[in-house]
């Protein structure tokens, strides 16, 4: 009798303890794990990444018990700021997302050990599916903190419709857009022709200087170091740039070219391949009238006398390390799914990115001519022209890279905008335009050196 009672008591106790203490770290489709994400793919437009997430939630996510919820679609800079604010728990700051898309630079701004090491959830075979160069970009401090999901390079976008009007009257060929030596002077022609409108805007002026300086001197390693404004390479890149900016054909306004593109206030720009998503097929004039336009894509402009260099862009997927192991596992499930061959190909092709999965990338470049949307066909055609001919360098990653890039761009914008205003004023006053221009370019270079040293 006593034995029976003891066994019964032990059984009941074990049942109680199991119910109270056991913690399940496995994903459970009946009780799904939800992960929040901030990403950059789509901005406020209809986002192909959101569509991919919906697809994931309906299929693999539902089966495995993972739900991804998009909480923010914004720029990488906004994400950087939001993450820092969230990590510091500033009043009014959002909570840290479980997943986010960012550049490797963000690692330096966040507290140590809050990011997940993807290597703990990827097998050797799974790692072999990624393009090695993309994967290694996210390998920081001995951990795979960033997992590439889509990469891009920079290309030149052109509002072909408006450019055709300009070129027809001025006997200009689009081949002039391929080289900085012809492109930048063309801006001023357009400025004169359009009555003072910008022709061209660089989304990242810093990248222009990085690629141009490396083009002239491949020994420079600007992926690791900041730009030396006293160098001859900088001066060589600065002069044609400053001439177009001070004259007025090159836009130096803050923000993305896609903003001015909407109102036909700029007709060409360099930027990420993903910019294609934001460049509309129509423009709206100030009276509300809209016009359909054709978009053409060219390889990133290069120097006629140097090596072809372009930036390898595109952030990657980071995950916030969680005490709840299910969240970490759920993040890995999503990361593997979005970088699987078919999903990676369809997602990147909808957004203008380059796949990170080896098979998906091979498939894309072998079949881009079959892409139905002409915008995307043109884009991948341009990228394929660059693919084996350009040297790709990744964006600078150093502790001060973000602030030094910002300082550089702000100084450039301030000095050249000021010079442009002065140029306009003195030109209107009847001074010799070429002499003023040369003088302002020289002064601007000096100011840049003073400002940044």
């Amino acid at each position: 009798m006593r034995k029976v009672l003891l066994i019964l008591a032990a059984f009941l106790l074990s049942l109680t303890m199991t119910g109270c203490l056991a913690e399940n770290t496995n994903l459970d489709p009946k009780n799904p794990t939800t992960l929040s994400i901030w990403h950059v793919y789509g901005d406020q437009t209809k986002s192909p990444f959101n569509d991919a997430i919906d697809r994931f939630n309906r299929t693999v996510g539902r089966d495995k018990g993972v739900i991804i919820r998009v909480l923010s679609i914004t720029t990488s800079y906004s994400i950087d700021k939001g993450l820092v604010d969230a990590a510091k728990k500033l009043p009014g700051a959002a909570e840290m997302p479980d997943l986010f898309i960012a550049y490797p630079r963000v690692v330096n701004t966040l507290p140590k050990n809050i990011l997940l090491d993807w290597n703990n959830y990827l097998s050797k075979e799974e790692r072999a599916n990624y393009i090695e160069a993309f994967l290694s970009e996210g390998y920081i401090d001995g951990q795979q903190l960033m997992l590439p999901i889509a990469k891009s390079s920079e290309v030149l976008f052109l509002n072909q419709t408006l450019f055709d009007r300009f070129s027809a009257q001025n006997n200009i060929d689009t081949s002039e857009l391929l080289y900085w030596e012809t492109l930048l002077p063309l801006c001023n022609k357009y400025y004169d022709w359009s009555g003072g409108k910008y022709m061209f805007k660089l989304n990242d002026t810093y990248h222009y200087f990085v690629t141009e300086m490396m083009s002239r001197n491949p020994a420079l390693n600007l992926s690791q170091n900041s730009i030396d404004v006293r160098s001859t390479e900088f001066a060589a890149a600065f002069y044609p740039f400053a001439r177009a900016a001070i004259y007025g054909g090159l836009c130096l306004e803050h923000g993305f070219a896609s903003d001015l593109w909407k109102t036909a206030d700029v007709i060409s720009s360099t930027g990420s391949t993903a910019e294609v998503l934001y460049l509309r097929d129509d423009v709206t004039y100030s009276n509300g009238v809209k016009e359909k336009i054709a978009l053409q894509v060219f390889p990133y402009p290069k120097s006629k006398f140097g090596k072809s260099v372009a930036i390898q862009r595109g952030g990657g997927l980071f995950a916030t390390k969680s005490d709840d192991e299910r969240k970490n596992k759920a993040a890995a499930v999503f990361a593997k799914w979005i970088t699987s061959n078919q999903e990676n190909l369809s997602f990147t092709m909808e957004t203008g990115y380059i796949p990170v999965n080896i098979k998906a990338a091979e498939s894309l470049f072998a079949n881009y001519e079959n892409v139905s949307n002409p915008k995307y066909r043109n884009l991948y055609h341009a990228v394929s022209q660059m693919y084996n001919k350009y040297h790709f360098c990744s964006t600078p990653l150093s502790k001060s890279s973000q602030s030094s890039q910002k300082s550089f761009e702000n100084a450039l914008q301030k000095i050249l905008t000021h010079a442009h205003a002065e140029f306009k004023q003195r030109s209107a006053a009847g001074e010799n335009r070429e002499q003023i221009l040369d003088k302002l370019i020289s002064e601007s270079l000096t100011k840049m050196q003073k400002e940044l040293l």
């Binding site: 009798m1 009672l5 019964l8 008591a9 009941l12 106790l13 049942l15 109680t16 119910g19 009946k30 009780n31 799904p32 794990t33 939800t34 789509g42 901005d43 406020q44 437009t45 209809k46 986002s47 959101n50 919906d54 939630n57 309906r58 739900i67 919820r69 909480l71 923010s72 679609i73 914004t74 906004s78 700021k81 939001g82 604010d85 500033l90 009043p91 009014g92 700051a93 959002a94 909570e95 306004e253 803050h254 923000g255 993305f256 896609s258 903003d259 909407k262 109102t263 206030d265 934001y278 709206t284 100030s286 009276n287 509300g288 009238v289 809209k290």
Partner: protein, 586 residues
Amino acid sequence: MQRLAYKELRLLFKKMHQESYTMRGRFAVYLLSLLCAFVFLIMLLLSVTGITNSFDKELHLSLDYELETSKENIINQMNQLAAYSINMSHQLSALTNDVLREEKLSFEQLKNNPEALSKLQKKAFHNLKRNMYIVPCSGAFYILNTTANNNIPGNTNHSLYIKFTNIYSDNNLHNSLCMFRGIPETARNEGIELHSMWQLEFRTNKVPEFEKLLSGKYGDISNEYMLTETVPLPDTWEKARFMAVPIVSDNGTTIGVCGFEISNIYFQMTSRVSDKAKNNTFCALLSKNNNRYTGQIGGNKTGYLPPLTNDFTIKPSSSLDIIECPPYVFVGMTEKLKIGNSEHILAMMFPENLYNELLQKSRFKATIIFLLLMLIAFGSSMWLSKRYVSPILQDLEQLKNNPKELRPSSIPEIADLFTFLSEKDAEQENKFRQLDDQKKKMENDYVEAKNLLRLQAEQAEEEYARAKEELLKKSKKAEEQYLQTKAALDQLTLHRCEAEIDPDNYQMFLEHLHTLTKKERFIFELYLQGKNAKEIRDLADITENTLKYHNKNIYGKLGICSRKELLLYAEYMQLQKQNTSSGENS
């Protein structure tokens, strides 16, 4: 069920009183009853403190609390939005009038006048921006009942619609703006970007409530605010609803509509449940549309929030309502909310599958605790009863086996009993001894009396033998006397008979005696034995006539004429036979 258990318990106690139960069994049952009552009390306490509460009750309380809290928060948020919308409407109305006065235009003349509209928008921008940073919203809009270009296809209205670039939950101090609708020049002057789906003007037909407000006539706008249904923001992935108020000019004309945007994501972030809420609980502010409900969904604490299609049906129930959003089903509570001129439903929901699972778990937990307590109660009863009763039983055993030499008991009552029994024993022994003495004395008396009686009996026997011998002598003597007398008497009778009897008749009598029938011979013998007529009738079982008949035959055959004669002849015959036999004997 309880009544049944009570009844059974009563029967058990009754049976225990009536029937023979061991002391331990009886004690264990009483103790078990007491512990069971104690277990029930513990369960009641655990239930009151919520430890073993059914998940159902717990969820009811939680949902009720969350519903009330959310309702209060949403009403506060909506009141704030409404108040600022009304205030903004007054400001924008005044601002429009100012510009119209400056430009010397009527409101109608704003149509197809981009310059005047641009001037108006530049002034309105700061108004919207200032309010946006104060109130809980994701955007602000100012839509005029006019257009910059009448030739633009579709029904568009000149508007300024700005949004926060990113959505934060607590405040928007660190947030930048972008222009969703409006003049790009204004955005560039103010240093804000255009939304990637920017358009110059707003199509009011995308929000039916805007068209309704724009077409209305209003005196006082203080009560004319409303919260619209959720609509997709054109070309974007976002959905939003608006707190909207009409803008009325000095002359009472409705010139536009203004207010604030609450995007779905903003609502999700701001309308989170409290920290006390169950995981996976979330609220939704819904609007009814043809028996279906659409609206905005609030955030939950962590974890589960399925990708809902935002198309709900609500099935009221006496317990928790069933709220379906295929393929998901929730249980929850709902409450009507009136916000200005619009009616809404606030729902607080919890996934039904999880509810069922947790309900089962809580019941299982309560059952396990109950069983464990009952097991402890049962075990304790058995152990305690054994511990309590075993020394008593040992003492009783001792009493049974060796009552003479009782070891002192550890239980005072039993020790008293042992003392009492010892005293009683001594008393009994005394009495027994006395009785034994008495018995022995009585035995002696008995032996003496017995001996005496035996002597007396021997004497009596001797006297009896003597008396018997004397009596025998006397009787022999009397018999001899009797025989002598009888012989003398027989001689006398014989002589008398010889004197009375005719010898011939007597001879005839003897000769014809054998002619009598069996019956007649039997009756004749009875006469000889001295029986009277009645006795002969009874013995021969015959009637009087039959007797007379037999008498007549007997008389006729023997030659006699009366019974007296018959008896005389018969007596004489007897005497003859005796004399003959005595003569032969002698």
